[in-house]
Symmetry: D3
Subunit: 140 residues, 6 copies
C-alpha cells in the first residue's frame, strides 16, 4: 500500500470517527452542515468533522454534557452565531442537559456577557424547545 | 421601620447572601475585587456581589461546577478578560473541576474560538495551576 | 409576615420599579420582550426588568439621555445586537435625543468600531426612523 | 474663490476619487450602499467613500487583491458583518482572487476564529458564488 | 500653485484642524500617540488626527461631551482597548463629564457588556482618577 | 503493526509535517509556544502544530504570504491577541511581506475595525520591527 493511499485511508478514518461522534451529538443537524458545504468548501466540512469531532470532541477527558456547557457559553459570548447555537442547543438536549439547565446557563451568561447576548441566545433556545415540544420551561 | 430603612436592609441582605456565595466559590479573590473597587465604584462591587452572586449564581437550577464550565467558555470567547479568567480558573478548581477537565475545556474552546483565544486562556490556567502546585497536568 | 413572603414582596417591588422605568424609556418595546420570554425564561425577563432597569437604570447618577448614548455605543460595538439596537434607538428618541444626534453618534462610532458595525447600526436607525416618520434626517 | 467654496471643492474631489475606486472594486454594490444611506446618513456614505476608499484604499502601498485578503480576515473575525462580507467577496473576485483562494482563506480563518465564524463566512461565499455561476468550487 | 501642492496643502490643513481638536479634547495624550507612531506608521497618525478628529469629531452635530459617552461605551464593549480607554477617560474629564458620571456610565455598561468588561474599564478609570487626585469618587 | 501503534505513527507524522511548516513560517517563535505548553496542555500544542500547521497551513490552495495577510486581519479584528500578532508579524516578514505592506495592512484595518484595534496592532509591529532593526519604516 503506497504512502498516499495510506494518507487517504487515515483521512477517511478520522472523518468517519468524527461523523460517528457528530451524529450521536447533533443528530441530523451535523449531516445537514456537511451537505450544505459540499459545493462550496468540502474541505471545511471535512475539518469540522475530522478535527472538531473526530480529534477533539471524541477525547474522553471531558464529558459530552460538559463540552456542551462550555460551547453554550462560547457561542453566546461570540455573538452572531445563532445557526451554531441552534445546532448546539439541540445537541445539549441530546446529551442530557435539561431545558431548565440550558435556560439557566443562558441566564448565567447575562452576568458575564450582558443582557443582549443572553437574550439572543435565549430566543434561539425558545425556537429549539418549541420545535421539540418542550415549552413552557418549568422550574425543576 | 421606615420604607428607606427597609430598602437598606434588603440591599444589605442581598449583598450578604452574595458575599457568602462569592467567598465559597472564589475564596479570597472575591474580597480582593470588592476591596479594589472601594474608592472608585463601590456600587459596581455591590452589584457584582448582590446581583451576580446573590441573585444569579446562588440559584439552584444549575450546579456551581456547571456554571464554571459555562463561564470558562464565555471568558475565553470574550477575550481580554485574563484577570477574570484567573479568578474563575481558581473558582473552577474550588468547585470540583479537575486540572484535566479545565485544560480540556480550553482545548475544546479552540474549535469554536480559534487557537489565539484558547492559547491566551491556557496560559492563564498555567499561572493558576503553577501557584497551586498542580503542574504538570497529567492525563486522568 | 414570614421571611419568604417578605422576600417575594421585595422581588415584586424591584420588578415593579423596573417596569415603570422600562415603560417610560422603551414604551411598548419593553413589555414585548417580557412577554416573549414568558414561556422560555421568565427569570431572565425578571432580571432584565428588576436589575437592569429597577436597580441600575433608575439611578440618578447619569441622565437617561446619557445612558442611551453609552448604550448606542455599546450595542454598535458588540455587533449582532440589532434587535436590542432597535429597542434602544426608539428609547433614544423617547428620552430626547434627536435623529441628527443619533445618526451622528453612529457616524462617530465608525472611528472606533470601523464602518461595517457603523453601517449595520445606521440601517437599524433607518428602519426605526422610517416607522416613526422621521426620514429623511436633515441637518439641525 | 472663497475658503468655504474651496473646502466644498476638496470634499467633492475626495468623494469622487473614492467613488472611482469603490466602483472599480465593488461594482454596483458600492453605489447601492451610498443610495441606501441617502435619507438616513448621507455623511456616513460620504465618509465611507471619501475616506475609506478615496484616502485609504487608493494608496499604492498595498495591492487591491491583498487589501481584500486582509478584509476577508477582518470581516470573518468581527462576526455579524454578513452584508459587508457579501460586498467584499464580490470585490475579492473582481480584483482577481479565485474562488479556490477565497474558500481557502475562509478555511484558514477557522484556525484563528473557530468554526462558527468560518462557517458563517463560507455560507456568504456560497451565496455570492451561486449568483455568479461559480459553484461548485473545484480544486485548482 | 500646482494640483499636487494644493493636495499637500489640503492634507496639512485637515491635519491641523484635527490636531487642534485632539489637543483640546485629549490634552498631551493625543500628541504622545502621534509621536509614538512617527517611526512605524506616520500615515496612521495622520489619519487618526485628520480624519478621526479633523473630519468627524469636529462636526457640530453632537457635543464633545456626548461623543465621549458614546466612546466610553464602545471602548468598554470592544475590550482589549485599555490604552485608548485611558486617553478617553482623561478626555471625558476634560470635556466636562464628572467622575460620578463616568463611573456610572461604566456601571451601566455591565448591563449590556457583562461584568468582566465593566470591571476592566473601571480599573482604567481608577488609574486615571488616581493620577488626577480624584479618588475616592463620592456620590454627587 | 497494531492499530494503535499505527494511530500513534499517524499522529506523530502529522505533528512532524506541521512542525516543519511552523518552523519555516514562524522561526523559533513556534517552538517557544510548544515548549511553553509542555506542562499545562501538550495536547493543545499538538493540535496547533498538527492541525493548524500540518493539516491547514500546509495546503497549497493559498500562498503562505496570503495566509499571513488574512491572519493579520483576523488577529487585529479579534483584539487581545497581541502575543499571537507578535508571532505573526514576524512570520509575515519571514514569508516575504515588506514592512511597508504590513503597516499598510494595519492602516487598512482601521477602516473595518476602527482606530483602537489598528493602533494596538501597529504598536506590536513597532516592537517587532524594532527588534529586527527595521525602523523607521519608509515609503516604498
Amino acid at each position: 500500500m503506497g504512502a498516499s493511499e495510506q494518507g487517504a485511508g487515515q483521512r477517511r478514518e478520522r472523518f468517519e470517527r468524527g461523523m460517528e461522534v457528530l451524529t450521536r451529538v447533533d443528530g441530523e443537524g451535523g449531516q445537514r452542515v456537511v451537505d450544505a458545504l459540499a459545493d462550496i468548501s468540502p474541505e471545511l466540512a471535512h475539518q469540522v468533522v475530522a478535527w472538531g469531532f473526530g480529534d477533539v470532541y471524541s477525547r474522553p477527558e471531558l464529558a459530552s454534557r460538559d463540552r456542551q456547557l462550555v460551547t453554550l457559553g462560547m457561542l453566546t459570548a461570540l455573538g452572531g452565531c445563532e445557526p451554531q447555537l441552534e445546532v448546539h442547543i439541540n445537541a445539549s438536549l441530546n446529551v442530557g442537559l435539561s431545558p431548565v439547565e440550558i435556560t439557566e446557563a443562558l441566564l448565567h451568561s447575562a452576568v458575564y456577557c450582558g443582557f443582549p447576548k443572553a437574550l439572543n441566545a435565549t430566543f434561539v433556545a425558545k425556537k429549539v424547545f418549541g420545535e421539540r415540544g418542550l415549552l413552557p420551561v418549568t422550574a425543576a
